[in-house]
Symmetry: C2
Subunit: 248 residues, 2 copies
């Protein structure tokens, strides 16, 4: 390995500060779909993740690893804890989930999702929840389609970063409207995380080339034959896209 490659792997500055903690990794990995804590550990290490995203299912209807399952398997102290509201189907559920995550685990950084019946982002409900949670002092990462008005609104509400949907969750379609994504990214000053429908390393590199600060991947890794191998591949793809932008 030559010197510039090693430098590129190690000299990565934080792109987000949240409650005195810094997020440096540009590959974010969801862990809602895992049943095995040991696999979660392997995937997070392969991704070089520094964010550990936990959830709290108000309804307890779906299986998901919770913090209590994980902390026996490996040392989570080296991760920044974030909470997700990915099971929420209303603004009210999202707000309640975030407050539970703060009360139980001291979590202040929220991956804010409100999904509609088709598992797509419920934009209006997401904005409503963001208004409420911003007032409570949460650091918010809301998930919406690449819509300029909504993105700007959420930025104005003080959200720390905006998560823009590439294509429907689990679709593997990649960035279905690169022009809309680009327009959205260009008008924002906060970091953008591209997420949803990422189906290959090429999609991850594409996201970075469009100006994403980070990419969040869930299903592609969780359902891979070798999840840790896929996480490593996506980490290369993040580096490839990022360095390509800086070199072009």
């Amino acid at each position: 390995m030559n010197t510039s490659m090693r430098d590129c792997l190690t000299d990565v500055k934080p792109w987000l500060m949240a409650g005195g903690q810094s997020i440096r990794s540009r590959l974010l990995v969801g862990i809602e779909q895992y049943a095995d804590p040991e696999l979660v550990r392997a995937v997070l290490e392969a991704a070089d993740a520094d964010l550990f995203i936990i959830t709290y299912d108000l309804q307890n209807t779906r299986s998901s690893l919770l913090l209590s399952d994980i902390d026996q398997a490996f040392d989570i102290d080296k991760y920044v804890l974030a909470g997700t509201t990915s099971f929420a189907v209303s603004a009210d559920m999202a707000v309640k989930t975030a407050r539970q995550l703060r009360d139980r685990f001291g979590i202040n950084l929220i991956k804010l999702d409100v999904r509609d019946a088709a598992n797509m982002p419920d934009t209006a409900a997401t904005v409503d929840a963001a208004i409420e949670l911003a007032r409570d002092g949460f650091v918010l990462l809301p998930f919406i389609p690449p819509d300029r008005q909504t993105a700007r609104r959420l930025e104005d509400l003080g959200c720390a970063a905006i998560r823009l949907m590439a294509s429907p969750v689990g679709s593997y379609l990649g960035i279905s409207d690169p022009d809309a994504m680009l327009r959205c990214i260009e008008q924002l000053t906060v970091p953008v995380i591209i997420e949803g429908g990422i189906g290959s390393p090429a999609h991850v590199a594409h996201a970075m080339e469009l100006g994403a600060t980070a990419v969040l991947v869930n299903t592609l890794i969780a359902r891979a034959a070798d999840p840790a191998g896929m996480a490593t591949a996506l980490r290369y793809a993040v580096l490839a896209g990022d360095l390509g932008v800086r070199s072009r």
Copy 2:
């Protein structure tokens, strides 16, 4: 950097043997567009290249670094030498160029190109040149559009690998017809190199995901603000696509 990432960077087996020498790197870099030997050295090191592609311009009408310019700048002994006929506009010119490269430099491995007036591959002339050069015992890497019949024909002629055009040279359009590319790759048993119109790391990862064994990039690196940085980015992209395929 975790262990699996380091393993992936170093444990790469050769994908082509030519005259007792092995080609291991899956990122091939053309150097026809460079005027500075020192920049060539930096780019080839960043790409982790093991193939050094030189040309011989029969007409001497275009500037190009020749072996004589290069061997003062750095040690080319660690590279496998290949010759290119990229200036050829007829089968006859390609054959003559290849023979000159063998006579002058002992080169037996030929990146076979015959271009038409629009700088697109002249398929019929390429096949004619391949027939002639295969008879002479050259190891051939011909360049054609992703056409199944022609690719099969060239494989039957004994070509060592087939270079399939992603999109017109210098266009930055990436793989304009992924389905045609996939059909072509699936029916071949020899390695496929995807080349032409590669415009970003995402395109390189995409090529690997479609089943390419290697990717050849020229203009994107040569015209980058930081050619060595771009070469490093593309190397990551190759690794990302390749590992993604093996992990999915």
